[in-house]
């Protein structure tokens, strides 16, 4: 039971992060491979405040969102000038740069040793059945995010960002300042993913830079593509599947020494098969 709860919590955290990823990549066509870095920024910002300054969880929550939003906003200036493959590459580069920062800004992040004993939400510490409450908070947050994104996507705003995804110049000619839309999408998407990072930090209570290297960024994009770009339920399906699948590998009885590699290989295979047979993913409505 506890194990199932653990899987459910992890799936929820990643689902939230992938919702952020999909808002940018699926609906707006910003195929970013840096959302793992956003998760890291949210995680570190929240963890530092929780651990060293003892702030209440809601404050850390806001701070994680704000820090990631700021990072996304700053990154958007060079990034949004690029398109296609160049965009992908520089965004990928940012996940390396962020990793360098986590690793080397020791005064703040404690370098390679990472941060330990990060507190969770206060409410959770009060009760015996803490994990279930943690999960409940997360699910509530996912529901709110789903509602919010749905509302945005149904509105005129949603039409404009999808038009931007299809062709930026044509959408500009129709009178829309496409860059301000793309920037706003990128920032909100960063905020959502950053908050997921905070939940990850306070759930596993120990973070270090290797958690947030480029692998995580790639994983989030794979989850979004597997579930389906431009699909909200796809984001959740993709995240859950890729959390559950490696766990299944564990049950296959693979020796521990090759477990990590086999998981990675299975990710790689999924990616290839997906791109080969069904680039739109499970529920996708947008084909890259």
């Amino acid at each position: 039971m506890d194990y199932l709860l653990h899987i459910a919590i992890l799936s929820s955290i990643y689902s939230l992060a992938v919702l952020g990823q999909n808002y940018a990549s699926g609906y707006t066509g910003l195929i970013s491979i840096n959302h793992g870095a956003f998760m890291g920024i949210g995680a570190y910002a929240g963890a530092i405040l929780l651990k060293w300054y003892g702030v209440p969880f809601p404050v850390a929550f806001l701070a994680a969102g704000a820090a990631t939003g700021l990072a996304a906003w700053l990154l958007s200036f060079p990034l949004l000038k690029l398109k296609g493959d160049s965009f992908v590459l520089v965004s990928f580069g940012f996940s390396f740069i962020a990793f360098n920062l986590f690793l080397n800004w020791r005064g703040l992040t404690n370098g390679a040793l990472g941060l330990k004993a990060i507190p969770g939400p206060e409410l959770v510490n009060l009760l015996d059945n803490t994990k279930i409450i943690f999960l409940a908070i997360l699910l509530a947050l996912i529901l709110i995010t789903l509602w919010g994104l749905h509302k945005i996507l149904q509105s005129s705003y949603g039409v404009v960002i999808r038009a931007t995804r299809e062709n930026q110049k044509v959408t500009q000619i129709a009178g829309h300042c496409t860059d301000s839309y793309r920037r706003s999408v990128f920032v909100l998407s960063g905020v959502i993913t950053g908050i997921a990072g905070l939940f990850l930090a306070s759930y596993i209570s120990t973070i270090d830079p290797t958690l947030f290297n480029y692998h995580l960024s790639v994983l989030l994009l794979i989850m979004a593509i597997l579930g389906g770009l431009a699909s909200l339920k796809g984001s959740i399906a993709g995240a859950t599947l890729l959390i559950v699948l490696p766990e299944l590998l564990r049950f296959l009885g693979l020796p521990n020494s090759i477990l990590a590699e086999s998981q990675q290989i299975s990710y790689g295979l999924i990616l290839i098969l997906l791109m080969y047979y069904r680039p739109v993913g499970l529920f996708g409505t947008y084909k890259i």
């Binding site: 520089v90 390396f96 740069i97 080397n104 790639v218 990710y267 790689g268 295979l269 290839i272």
Partner: protein
């Protein structure tokens, strides 16, 4: 000065990497992210041959490159070519090639472990040569010499042979390749062979400086891409300059900022180039295209 020399030497290997990447890109028009990893496998094979059969460095390097070429050809014909035929966009192929990268990287980690394997042209530690007050190690000399040699051979090949001319032409003139009597498919295969070959040589050279690790597949393809983009995708001369520039910038970065910021320096260089001169050093400026 020493820093710049070191930068130029490792840069010449990056340049080789970049040239191979650029060659392949200019014919197929998609980014193959598994490119660096295939090269690293070539370096691993060379390493194994040197250690278990005590082969000479150069022979092991060539043998490793042949294995890499085989993998490169297979990946092209089994995976990428059918995907292009099915109408996959360049982004779809980029993502798929990332999947291949992950698979190859982890298979390498299973075979050769997740540690750094050191590679040197000799078992003994040889003294460095003194060159006008600058020190150059035998390993560095090997890198510089082989890289230079490879580039000369490539230059001759591209200028003098039918295949070479077709490769140079295919980027902007499909008709000419027909005149030369070659099929696009043949040329793509040839380019994969050549590109992968020189990339594996380059990876084995770079291994002399930084060793071999499964994660180097990612690092090297990124360096190749950066060198190629700085120079202007599709331009051989550009990739050469781009590689040298990257090597020098990295070494200056290591000297002034510390080795831990190496990736940051490389990517910042890339971002600056993409923003200021997206067409690279040696590519033609184009008018607007809407699509």
């Amino acid at each position: 000065m020493q820093i710049i020399l070191n930068g130029l030497i490792v840069g010449s290997a990056y340049a080789l990497m970049g040239i191979g990447f650029s060659l392949i890109y200019s014919t197929v028009r998609y980014f193959n992210l598994a490119y660096g990893m295939v090269a690293v496998i070539g370096a691993y094979v060379a390493y194994t041959l040197m250690n278990s059969w005590s082969l000479n460095y150069v022979i092991a390097m060539l043998a490793g490159a042949l294995v890499a070429v085989l993998i490169g050809m297979l990946s092209s014909s089994i995976l990428f070519k059918p995907m292009v035929r099915r109408g996959g966009s360049s982004l779809v192929i980029l993502v798929a090639s990332f999947g291949l990268l992950i698979i190859l990287q982890n298979i390498s980690a299973l075979i050769w472990q997740n540690t750094t394997r050191a590679l040197s042209i000799s078992d003994r530690i040889l003294p460095g040569y003194n060159l006008f007050g600058l020190i150059i190690t035998p390993n560095q000399l090997m890198i510089g010499a082989v890289a230079l040699l490879m580039m000369l051979i490539l230059e001759l090949f591209l200028k003098k042979t039918r295949y070479g001319m077709a490769i140079r032409a295919i980027g902007d003139n499909q008709e000419l390749t027909k005149v030369l009597g070659l099929k696009t498919e043949q040329i793509i295969l040839a380019v994969y062979v050549i590109g992968t070959f020189i990339s594996a040589i380059s990876a084995t050279l770079i291994a002399l400086e930084i060793g071999i690790r499964p994660t180097h597949g990612v690092t090297l393809v990124i360096k190749a891409i950066i060198a190629a983009i700085i120079g202007g995708l599709g331009s051989i001369r550009g990739a050469l300059l781009g590689g040298l520039l990257l090597g020098v910038a990295e070494n200056l970065g290591i000297y002034f900022l510390g080795g831990q910021w190496q990736d940051t320096v490389a990517f910042t260089l890339l971002a600056v180039f993409l923003l200021v001169r997206p067409e690279g050093l040696f590519a033609k400026k184009r008018l607007v295209s809407v699509n």
